[in-house]
Amino acid sequence: MHPALQGLLTILIGVGGCVGYFYFSNVFLDRVLFPAKGPNAGRNINRANIIRPWLFLLPAILALGLYLAYPVFETIRLSVTERVSSVEGTRYVFVGADNYAQMFAEAKFWEALRNNLLWLIVVPALSTAFGLLAAQLTDRLRWGNVAKSLIFMPMAISFVGAAVIWKLIYDTRPEGTEQIGVFNALYLYFGGDMPQTWLTIPFWNNFFLMIVLIWIQTGFAMVILSAALRGIPEETVEAAIVDGAGPFTIFFKIKVPQIMGTIVVVWTTITIVVLKVFDIVFAMTNGQWETQVLANYMFDKLFRANDWGVGSASAMVIMVLVLPILIWNVREVRKEMR
């Protein structure tokens, strides 16, 4: 069957199935299981109302459980087992911390971890800083909304598309020919001796990859922070002006402290994106020239080395890095619910 037809059919089955499930399970509950009539009408209504939320929740709970909760525990299990293939089939043998030991012994892993930490510091910091700058600059402009749209635009571009865009910027042509990459053209224009292959310069190439994500995430930071800036009470700014504060004092001493909460939120959200960054590195260097990151390291183990044990162990490292944010978020939400 043609995939497009199959897709259409799946939409119909999926949507129809969902609607059908919700409709008929409700009908069944109200008409058959606990009908709201007869001698026990009152009791039946109460019982139906106890069960109904779970009818509404069931598909979501199943999907969440199977696709997100179960994998967490399964990954923990896989990370302490080794897959053994033999003629009888595939078995999983408990090996304790062997996978972790093997991973910690690899230089590539430490390189990935170091780079990830570098990403964790640089990308959220610069994205938030540029986002704040953009939000403040465009705040009072007549063409502010157009400016925001254009800075925000990279958000819609895929990481892979962004990788192509930036690879053209870092492009290198042989010495003596016209450079078509902006970086090299500028480098030579300002007196550089010969064209550089930017993505192969160890350590610094990490930053050239980070620029891509910063370019994408700045728009996100700008949008959120701009909304926060708008929410600052006008009186606080006016009072500061009356007291003779200059624009910089107002920005750093009055505005920034008031939106600190939002800055933290933006920072943590970008942190989570950074921890999972895969496409950019995969498409631009594939972890060569010392640009490996954890997510790509994991993909490498999974599909190139076909080593599920170490792959799971490296996924657990990402999970451990996310854990503080997860706990903090849950605590905040529980506070709100109370």
Binding site: P3, Q6, G7, T10, I11, G14, C18, F22, N49, I50, P53, F56, A60, I61, L64, Y67, L68, A69, P71, T75, L133, A147, I151, M153, P154, M155, A156, I157, S158, V160, G161, I165, K167, L168, E178, I180, V182, A185, W215, V223, I224, V265, T269, L275, K276, F278, A295, F303, W308, S312, A315, M319, V322, L326, N329, V330, V333, R334, E336, M337
Partner: protein, 380 residues
């Protein structure tokens, strides 16, 4: 007072200029790729895209002369043009790579085997030989010329519509569409019901469930890859559309439930309680009142999920694309092209832009909802 006012206007000017600079900086990379996708391979390799916007004098890649041969008083003559474009102005030329600027237009160069070639300033040339050049390699001409801006849509034609182009994006485009649409619609439906239950129904464990959803919001995708691949293989669906739809649904649900629950919880209590008093069932309340009122939140999530599934590489690579490559999506196709055609920017730029166009369109058409979704979705 004048002083303060003057100070203020200079600040406004600086703000405007700084904002303009920032916008141009952010726009520059994308524009570069867009412009490149409308240039020929020769143009891209011979000059930076920024110089293509104005007439530039530059040394061109060698052009091999070609044309119909005419016999003229015992001489075999080929006349024609070196460039397709009009308004080209040749300033210097040569016939070898060692001396590409040896001659001026109108001068004649004597080649081996009694052949001559003479280009003119306007790019036309006259080539003569004593014997027929039928089936022989004609000489190349190196030119330094001023060419006006010139763009072509050939790249797009080639990447999208050319039959038999194994690198084409047409198929991948439809595959991406096939992945995206069900993967956007199905989670919305599942999440909407769950969000309603979490927002407006009383039951034990509600707070706990909300906390679980928030926790799952940040669980890295990477953890799910191996267990789910194992699961999909175990139940026999292996790699394919069904698997990728289910995976995207599962991964999109936490955000969907979170966004929709927050929005629905903010709807006025009176509406729902009045409906309950009037005897509406919960199912009716949900479909007739809650769902239409929640349209902004539904649209927000739909856009986020569409962008995410359209732009996704990892999930497609793990759950969809098998060894046959029949089900490849655009992001994957581009990564493959980066590997095999790393220097062919006319192909890469065009492929990338084909994949970027749809999200960009959605972005500009529905930016309002996207912003709203992001504002609501970043955990406070």
């Amino acid at each position: 007072m004048d002083n303060i006012a003057g100070h203020k206007s200079s600040l406004v000017l600086i703000t405007n200029l700084a904002a303009l600079l920032l916008v141009l900086l952010w726009l520059f990379p994308t524009v570069g790729l867009l412009v490149s996708s409308f240039r020929t391979a020769d143009q891209i390799t011979s000059s930076g895209w920024w110089s293509s916007l104005s007439a530039q004098e530059r040394q061109n890649n060698p052009i091999r002369i070609s044309g119909a041969e005419i016999e003229e008083n015992g001489l075999f003559v080929i006349e024609g043009r070196l460039f397709e474009a009009e308004n080209v102005e040749v300033s210097l030329w040569g016939t070898s790579s060692r001396a590409p600027q040896a001659f001026e237009p109108g001068q004649t160069s004597e080649l081996s085997r009694d052949r001559t070639v003479m280009p003119q300033t306007d790019g036309s040339f006259r080539f003569t030989a004593l014997e027929s050049q039928e089936g022989k390699r004609l000489p190349r001409v190196f030119t330094t010329a001023t060419t006006p801006p010139e763009f072509t849509t050939d790249n797009y034609h080639k990447m999208l519509f050319e039959k038999g182009n194994v690198e084409g994006m047409g198929k991948a485009f439809f595959n991406t569409l096939t992945v995206t649409i069900p993967a956007t619609i199905i989670p919305i439906l599942v999440a909407a019901f769950a969000a309603y239950a979490l927002a407006w129904m009383e039951f034990p464990g509600r707070a706990l469930l909300v906390a679980v959803v928030v926790a799952l919001l940040v669980v890295p995708l990477q953890l799910a890859l191996i267990p789910l691949l194992k699961f999909h293989n175990g139940i026999g669906i292996g790699k394919g559309y069904l698997g990728v739809w289910m995976a995207h649904t599962g991964f999109g649900l936490p955000l969907a439930i979170y966004l929709l629950r927050n929005y629905m919880a903010g709807l006025p209590r009176d509406i729902i309680e009045n409906a309950r008093v009037d005897g509406a069932t919960e199912f009716q309340i949900f479909t007739k009142i809650i769902l239409p009122l929640s349209f902004p939140a539904l649209a927000s999530f739909a856009i986020l999920q569409f962008l995410w599934t359209w732009n996704d590489l990892l999930v497609a690579k793990v759950f969809l694309i098998d060894a046959s490559g029949e089900t490849t999506v655009m992001t994957n196709r581009i990564v493959e092209l980066l590997g095999t055609r790393g220097g062919n920017w006319e192909i890469l730029a065009t492929a990338a832009f084909v994949s970027i166009v749809a999200p960009l369109f959605v972005f500009f058409a529905m930016q309002r909802y996207l912003v709203r979704g992001l504002l609501a979705g970043s955990v406070k």
